[in-house]
Symmetry: C2
Subunit: 480 residues, 2 copies
């Protein structure tokens, strides 16, 4: 360990006294697993991991670090797609893990609220809600590892945004430790509470740059009593959108997920993932995974699904469709979609583009991006998939079969620029649900420059004047 | 006009040149109607009303005012319940009316989005959505006067929050003029957009103290194809809550409004409002107005309403109920609820308490407050009514029949304190949907003091360092 990666001795002593051996790790072997992001984009250095056991312990630790001028990097499940929880290479930044703040403090099925600490794993929160006969609807690939603090700090989205919104829309109140160690006790479980600035909404999506979310009051919903999942081959991107509109207009509240997949993406899943096969008689270029749910017993979802699909078949939009007949079949259909990232990984190098556009423009996004990307890198394979119902498509690009992965990945910025130019033209966003982290800070000036970035910087300076909270994330450095 | 209420001549000249005679009113007769809030709580003074015709004109006017150090009070429909849009008595503050920014810039039924300028009246936005076959669901008493800028600046709630959320939850993006005249061009129509701090959520509910909302991208929903409205006599506050739970658990998406009324409140409506009568065979102490809606054709709402009401009748919770058979009947039932404020006004003086608690605690709020208030002022009449489904009850108190209104109103603070002590005990909010304005700033220190108020003040200083935006609203002055 170099001197660069040691804590100042007085701070080390104070933190040891405060946190004890369970709450402070300074051995390199303990720290090493947490120095890289899971995608392997970054490799940082850090002198210590702080693991406070309570909000008050965290607040005291923050005061000590702030007094010593030591930067802090909050970490939940470390599943960021954009390097949001990885310390930089300086070795000066301590990692602050919220893992020990893992209690569900309250769960009330009458109020339909859940109060969970930051370190509670998303899946654990889902299970706790289900046990009480309720639904905590946030659902995403990393749910077995990602934590409540992380999904709120990044305003995670996932599959069910079309019906239930992002993490933000499931949040009623927050407990937060500020960069100076002050504590906001805002765990209010109210649907209406207009009492000054909506601070809670500022911390959601701030990726830990304004303070630590330590606990959250969350909304639950009644559990679904009916569910129908269908896999559909559709004639085009436009046909997929038209099918979405048919279902939404017929019963807006029933559409829990509406996922688009290209034939290329399904092919990769079939090729690389055991047990996955094309679910319809024939391969198709464009597919949709539809998930309907209702809390109403005998809600008639099956009849709804059949009648809308028949209309769409008659209109030539849907070419073929299968409705799952059991939980096992439902899980199998979902698996085709869920395994898309893994299948792409196994096929070779790929570049991810987490972008969004107004829903009406999704077909144009897919078509124009696919043409532009294959022109940019001949032989490359666009694999667009994702949340058509909320406008968020993962406009990913798989390398050409014969190309050296490193050569392909060297073009990553060109690929992102190519997609983002189209996204901008369609009035979309270069960062739909993964956030900015470290990966995309250099795009903020261009996309959110002027008054907007100025206001963000002013807020950052106001709440974190020493710049100690997750430095280098979200906001770009001063323009050079 | 005293010298106190004149603009500095150089500023006057510059504003006249910029805004023209339509855009700048300095005659006392033109200004006078806008110097008081509609409840008559405050009477301010002002040297001028600015009425810019475009966002760019507003931005330039703001730059001129900022350079001259002149405070600005944004005004929409001037329907604030808390004096939020009224200038103070100094005569230094100019009123900035957004009334001429009244265009609907875009409406897209496929994206289900609506882009409206700040001065668009809420009812106009609702009508525009309806004409396009969609629903803009925000609904409240002042909808014929209140504007989009106002309902967003105050995060208005109203009747449909239980299903569609507050104004905040219907907002996708904002255009904002900052206190220094900078413009945030954030009219994004995206469900997913994680690109730095959620500035838009900071302006919603800031009551014009951080800048001017000039336009908003809003969410629409598919129009309702079925609606059922029922008026129910229930056995108690608990029975009312139990009925809510029955409906919510059976079909959460269908409950568009669930309003509680006391027998006292309905009595007053019957006494004072022409054409209103008790809709059931007998008077009742506790009543519920239920509004179910669904976008699904043949959604079975009638059967749902009947079966749940029958269960609740069998359980002894519901004593009697009537389901409306026509639009006219639906409107008539809603009118009983909507005329509550007017009926209270005609009966005499009353004190409003716009409070919220977790939904499960609404019965306790009503019971405890009613007992405490009648003990505080013998003969006074509690008139609790409002949005039981979202926990927001207007815990209003009507004066004793024989008391001098002025004597009663002199007790207003005691009355509010009495209710708020109970609200605090129940983990609720002293300001559910009306906001803080000028009326409640002196409660902020007590309810949101410490780190929370400190963070609000830091944000205010960061975005409005000269303190020129709607001074004296939301945040209390420095502790004396």
């Amino acid at each position: 360990m170099t001197p660069d990666t040691m804590l100042p001795p007085p701070l080390l002593d104070a933190l040891q006294a405060l946190l004890g051996p369970r709450g402070l790790l300074t051995e390199h072997a303990d720290i090493a697993p947490w120095l890289a992001d899971w995608r392997g984009l970054y490799q940082g250095a850090s002198p210590a991991i702080l693991r406070p056991g309570s909000t008050e312990e965290l607040a005291q630790a923050v005061r000590l670090c702030a007094a010593a001028g030591v930067p802090m990097v909050p970490m939940g499940g470390n599943t960021s797609m954009v390097g949001g929880a990885t310390p930089d290479e300086s070795g000066r930044q301590v990692i602050v893990s919220l893992a020990r703040l893992n209690r569900i403090r309250a769960l009330d099925p009458l109020d339909m609220t859940l109060v969970a600490e930051a370190g509670v794993v998303l899946k654990t929160a889902q299970d706790a809600a289900a046990e009480a006969g309720c639904l905590f609807p946030l659902s995403l690939g990393a749910e077995g590892t990602a934590t409540i603090g992380g999904v709120l700090s990044t305003n995670a989205g996932g599959n069910t945004t079309v019906r239930y919104g992002n993490a933000r829309e499931l949040m009623l109140g927050l407990e937060v430790v500020l960069p100076d160690g002050g504590v906001i006790h805002g765990l209010r479980r109210l649907r209406k509470d207009n009492t000054g600035y909506a601070l809670r909404h500022l911390f959601v999506g701030a990726e830990g740059t304004l303070g630590f979310i330590t606990a959250a009051a969350l909304r639950m919903y009644p559990r679904a009593r009916e569910q129908e999942v269908a896999f559909c081959a559709v004639g085009s991107e436009d046909a997929a959108l038209s099918l979405f509109r048919r279902f939404r207009d017929r019963d807006e509240g029933a559409v829990r997920a509406f996922e688009y997949m290209s034939g290329t993406g399904v092919d990769l899943a079939v090729r690389h993932i055991e047990g996955i096969a094309w679910p319809l008689g024939a391969r198709a270029d464009h597919c949709v995974l539809l998930d309907l749910a209702s809390s109403r017993p005998q809600g008639g979802l099956r009849a709804l699904a059949e009648s809308v699909l028949e209309e769409a078949l008659d209109a030539g939009e849907v070419l073929d469709a299968v409705i799952a007949e059991s939980d096992a079949q439902r899980a199998a259909l979902w698996r085709i979609r869920d395994e898309h990232p893994e299948a792409q990984k196994r096929e070779g190098a790929s570049v991810k583009n987490d972008v969004s556009v107004p829903v009406s423009r999704v077909p144009e996004l897919i078509r124009r991006s696919s043409v532009a990307l294959t022109a940019l890198i001949p032989g490359s394979r666009p694999v667009p998939f994702g949340h058509m119902g909320d406008g968020n498509i993962h406009m990913n690009l798989e390398q050409p079969e014969a190309m050296d992965p490193a050569v392909f990945l060297a073009r990553a910025h060109d690929i992102m620029d190519c997609v983002n130019a189209i996204v901008r033209d369609l009035e979309g966003s270069f960062s739909a649900e993964h956030g900015i982290g470290r990966l995309k800070t250099d795009m903020m000036e261009d996309w959110r420059g002027g008054a907007e970035l100025g206001a963000m910087r002013a807020i950052k300076s106001a709440l974190d004047p020493l710049g100690l909270m997750n430095p280098g994330k979200v906001l770009p450095g001063p323009a050079s």
